[in-house]
Symmetry: C2
Subunit: 207 residues, 2 copies
């Protein structure tokens, strides 16, 4: 079970690490972080860099492809080298997935044309510019393409994948292993729940 | 607002990246990943390494200290260099925190003696061996010491800290920014909810 997570400059770390932390414990899982060139890739905060062990060009296939989001997706979604790689790997996958604005990269590669998909709540129009039909759900599955909403949703997506790959009991055991019994101190995880004043505080706009 | 996250071999990545992804967006936040020596530190899966930009010895103080867990805590909790550093930084902090088995390191440093604290559900006895009183809550605060339960609980802890540091509205905006509206496909995030058969599947034992 080869799980490949491509990194690019200005990715959002939790988009990648949430699914990683679930999927790495699947029976037989082998994780690979890859990038245009092997070595450190900086996240969207300069304090954090994750090592890409492989070059994208070294990766021939994946059972599960997980594309994270982040500000760098605006470049990645137009980077023909990245997009050609995404299309090539997608042809080999059992699941092609994204978290947050990672769906822009899938869309840029032409994989979401006419499909329902999701992304961060602030990027609906940009997602739809790729031909996708935005769907306000935390995890949206269309055949083997699975997109997740903003950042933290990758954990929920990975548990959904884990259940399909290894069965409900294994997925529950993975959830228990990471003690994923969420108890946020507020109920402000969506624009509708948070309200317009909190949306304004984020500095992001809906749509 | 200096937020310092010490890394050590075999740390659990989500323990560190969950709080990082919340706290890095606090107004004025500056994150530093530090380790015994600067450079790559491997997580508890060999596929993942995060760069430590600083040596522990270069860090003089922190406003918020976040100690992640992972298998490496069993070494870290007895590593006198690490423990002396923890005690030294703790003397300067506004908050000294841990996620998952990171509380074993705080305990090893003598910071939890007689205090209520939490950890991963499988490590209760080991935590109590440091003098802490295990408390089955997702986030346990005793003055400036805040411990969180297993792995994913660091996100909830960080939102709790964010509210105390910057107010409820900013914390809600951070939650909305990472779209933390958790919808796990199962309700199996604690041993009581998952039941004994799923606990057995994890390969871990309660207590």
């Amino acid at each position: 079970m080869d799980i490949v997570i491509p990194l690019f400059p200005n990715f959002t770390a939790l988009d990648a690490i949430g699914p990683y932390e679930v999927l790495r414990s699947l029976p037989g899982a082998r994780i690979t972080f890859a990038a245009a060139e092997p070595g450190l890739v900086h996240a969207d905060n300069p304090a954090l860099a994750i090592n890409a062990a492989a070059a994208l060009s070294e990766i021939e296939s994946a059972d599960v492809l997980v594309v994270p989001g982040g500000g760098g997706t605006r470049t990645a979604m137009k980077d023909e080298t990245m997009l050609a790689w995404i299309r090539r790997i997608h042809a080999t996958t059992r699941y092609t997935t994204s978290v947050c604005s990672g769906s822009l990269v899938l869309g840029g590669a032409g994989l979401l044309d006419g499909l329902e998909a999701t992304t961060h709540w602030s990027l609906v129009k940009l997602l739809e510019s790729t031909g996708a039909k935005y769907t306000e759900q935390r995890v949206v599955q269309q055949g083997k393409i699975v997109t997740a909403a903003g950042v933290s949703s990758g954990i929920d997506m990975a548990l959904t994948l884990a259940a399909q790959i290894a069965g409900d009991d294994i997925a529950k055991a993975l959830q228990l292993g990471i003690e994923y019994d969420p108890q946020p101190p507020f109920d402000a995880g969506s624009p509708a729940k948070a309200g317009p004043e909190i949306v304004a505080l984020t500095g992001m706009a809906e749509g």
